[in-house]
């Protein structure tokens, strides 16, 4: 078993989140927050 297949109690070896969709939504929230910040403050 290589490092990428190693099992974690929570999340996976590539992500701290339980599902990809949860990670996608977090990324979306961060990105939109950054975009909003850039739009307002630049």
């Amino acid at each position: 078993m290589n490092d990428e297949q190693q099992e974690f109690e929570r999340g996976s070896s590539l992500s701290i989140f339980g599902s990809d969709r949860k990670e996608d939504f977090m990324a979306l929230i961060f990105a939109l927050a950054i975009a909003f910040g850039v739009y307002v403050f630049t």
Binding site: N2, D3, E4, F8, E9, R10, G11, S12, S13, L14, S15, I16, F17, D20, R21, E23, D24, F25, M26, A27, L28, F30, A31, L32, I34, A35, V38, Y39, T42
Partner: protein
């Protein structure tokens, strides 16, 4: 279990960041910055802010992690990632501010490579992205990722995904109308064809879908950005991303030297070679290198190659969507399920974010809609042109006195329009005048006037500049973390098949595009 480690590591990372800030702020680093390029060193502003903010944050959370009492809960789990995340960020800082510039200094001292007009670090793509991955690989294989940093390494993909969503802001569909019809058809055919062939070969050679997916984007579209954008879509493993980037860069280096030789042997025109290089070579810097090697005394070839290259990059959103649907269908094909429902359930949401920001960018909300990576043409006050930049009478007189020495009609007409209006009147004129500058037909003073006229109509959007900054840091963070997930054993496991597929598809694309260019492309597009 309790995830937060009672360790001084994060506190020490914070102290190191604050030390970097202090040394930059107090001038202790000034001699080294001078060595790295002095006024040309681009990161002074970052050095005076980023390590300060993150240093304070790391020291504060580090003290709490070191001395606080921790119990098992959500907060413990998520906050335990901070130490690893700051560890990655510190490495990204060192790579971006010191390691990459140091390599550039050494490479510059070695001189330009042949007729390419570029230095070896640019041609090999040795920027913070590649170096970041390599440093990450070294950390994990030589020292191993420390226990306290393990959870943090797993947030690197979140950073990459956030960066990919923001990548949408750099492109605009409106830019497509500035591109030639032939470039859109040719690039569309070859990009989609390359992606399709890689996916087909991948399934024939039984490589994982994730590997085939990420390699197809890299070989089909262009270089590192496409690879990084496609990687989370097809859930590519770290080692697969590294393989793809390595294959693209090595293939590109070979092409960069081979293309100009073949072009000269076949007696290709500037337009033909530009179209071929822009289609067949994968990395932007290498496309430019080959074009300049083919035509060192002008930029006609480079301009055509740039048009083809831009067209290719603008197809990226379509490829990302395609791969997202393809991957979901492939992964679920073993079980008979409703494809529509599976796509709804599994489709990567962040791709929609990427498309959303691409659409917003196209509306012109962040920059004039016709921008490309934040750069746009504008010769009116509304689009950023300053009236004070209009040519003065003596400048017009000088240009008028030299116009007779310009032989080519298109260049003479563009120059006359510049003299009559006092400013560059169109993107086409701007390109033509850049060619005139490069051809060194006019005197040094006249060329300086043309360069100033060119500069006054080319602008960089502030918002896009800010987005680029964010994307840069998110990618640097994500890719260093990604490197930390690549072990020697995982590289052995991936084997050499990706390089074989990459080589076959690259050769096929280069050969077919050469045939098409020789048959269809004439001197003008």
């Amino acid at each position: 279990m309790v995830y937060t480690k009672k360790s001084p590591a994060l506190f020490i990372i914070g102290i190191i960041m604050l030390s970097i800030w202090f040394m930059a702020d107090s001038g202790i680093l000034a001699p080294y910055i001078e060595h790295l390029g002095g006024k040309k060193y681009k990161y002074t502003a970052e050095l005076l802010q980023i390590p300060l903010y993150f240093g304070i944050l790391s020291v504060a959370i580090g003290l709490w992690q070191w001395f606080g009492n921790h119990t098992e809960n959500h907060w413990d789990y998520y906050s335990s990632t901070v130490a690893g995340a700051m560890f990655i960020l510190l490495i990204a800082m060192l790579v971006r501010w010191f390691v990459a510039p140091e390599i550039a200094v050494i490479s510059t001292a070695m001189g330009k490579v042949g007729q390419t007009g570029s230095y070896i670090h640019k041609l090999l793509g040795l920027n913070y992205v590649v170096i970041g991955i390599v440093v990450g690989i070294l950390v994990v294989n030589v020292f191993k990722v420390p226990e306290w940093a393990r959870n943090g390494v797993r947030v690197s993909r979140l950073g990459l995904k956030t960066g990919v969503i923001l990548l949408g802001t750099l492109y605009s569909a409106a830019e497509l109308k500035n591109l030639g019809g032939l470039s859109i058809i040719m690039i569309g055919f070859f990009v989609l064809g390359s992606v399709g062939i890689v996916l087909w070969m991948g399934s024939r050679m039984k490589i994982p879908n994730s590997m085939g997916g990420v390699l197809s984007a890299g070989m089909g579209v262009c270089g590192v950005s496409a690879t990084v954008a496609a990687a989370p879509v097809v859930q590519a493993k770290s080692v697969e991303i590294a393989y793809t980037i390595g294959t693209i860069l090595l293939w590109g280096v070979g092409c960069m030297f081979a293309f100009p030789i073949i072009g000269n042997l076949l007696g290709m025109s500037h337009v033909q070679f530009g179209a071929w290089a822009g289609t067949g070579i994968l990395n932007s810097a290498q496309v430019a290198g080959a074009a300049l090697a083919f035509q060192p005394d002008g930029i006609e070839t480079l301009k055509v190659a740039e048009i083809f290259n831009i067209t290719r990059v603008l197809i990226l959103p379509i490829i990302v969507l395609w791969l997202a649907v393809w991957y979901v269908k492939r992964e679920e094909s073993a079980t008979q399920v409703n494809v529509g429902r599976v796509i709804f359930e599994k489709f990567p949401v962040f791709v929609l974010g990427f498309i959303l920001l691409f659409a917003l960018s196209t509306t012109g909300i962040f920059a004039p809609a016709n921008h490309y990576k934040g750069k746009y043409f504008g010769n009116t006050t509304e689009t950023g042109f300053k009236e004070s930049k209009l040519l003065k009478a003596d400048q017009k007189t000088l240009l008028q006195s030299e116009i007779a020495s310009v032989q080519r009609d298109d260049r003479r007409t563009a120059l006359q329009r510049l003299i009559d209006n006092g400013k560059v009147m169109s993107i086409g004129d701007d390109d033509t005048l850049r060619g005139l500058i490069n051809a060194k037909v006019l005197s040094k003073d006249a060329n300086s006037i043309l360069k100033a006229a060119h500069k006054s109509v080319r602008h960089t959007a502030k918002m896009i500049k800010a987005f680029r900054q964010w994307i840069t840091w998110l990618f640097a963070f994500g890719l260093v973390g990604l490197g930390m997930q690549i072990t020697i054993s995982s590289m052995k496991q991936a084997g050499g098949q990706p390089a074989v597929i990459g080589g076959v598809v690259g050769l096929l694309k280069a050969t077919l595009s050469l045939v098409v260019v020789m048959m269809l492309v004439s001197e003008t597009i």
